[in-house]
Symmetry: C2
Subunit: 121 residues, 2 copies
């Protein structure tokens, strides 16, 4: 089993999520495990096409597969998307902090404006 760094894992999982069919497969597997044949039929795709998508999801750790006889069954990997959610949440915090800082600058400019107003004696 290949060990990825946290960064390489995020690269692989965000890349895996960048395709509507692969997102659909994850949603489907969250409902029930399925064979590659089932998934190919459901997503109107060739077996070869679906195999490629599953490989991308498998490499990202989002899906695990098991071959019993001639049937390869897919289910969700243990990893989930917690790290991806955490990255997006951290980014939102930075973003909000940026807009808060902007609000403060505007407030300071307004306060400055009031100070600059000619005093009335």
């Amino acid at each position: 089993m290949v060990q990825f760094s946290a960064t390489a894992r995020l690269d692989a999982s965000f890349a895996a999520l960048s395709d509507a069919t692969r997102r659909g497969v994850l949603e489907q597997l969250a409902r029930a495990e399925a064979s590659i044949t089932d998934l190919a039929a459901r997503f109107h795709m060739t077996l070869t096409g679906m195999k490629k998508h599953i490989q991308v999801l498998e490499r990202a750790g989002l899906v695990v597969t098991e071959k019993i006889g001639r049937v390869r069954t897919c289910r969700l990997g243990a990893q989930g998307l917690a790290d991806e959610a955490a990255w997006i949440a951290g980014y939102h915090q930075l973003w909000n902090a940026r807009f808060d800082a902007l609000d403060q600058v505007i407030a300071e400019l307004k306060a400055q404006e009031n100070l600059d107003e000619p005093e009335r004696h």
Copy 2:
């Protein structure tokens, strides 16, 4: 301006997030706007390399750029990552529901097991 469907937008934004440098650029721009030259220097990259990354982020709507004179300044787009966070949250709900369903099946199996125990008179 090209209008994307919600699906195509998710494809583009998750693909944009699948590279550590591009995620770093977003984090950097959440702190302060910057020119492409600044970003290339900060991420130890050629100007051409950084321009390509910025184009990917721009196409995904995550970054906007403005050229004033010879300097192209980058800042965060208005879009943010709310849709991406929502997709991941929705997926987690499905996932949790699946594990809840599994818990229920186990509980029912256990209840069944108790019923099947020989009655003592």
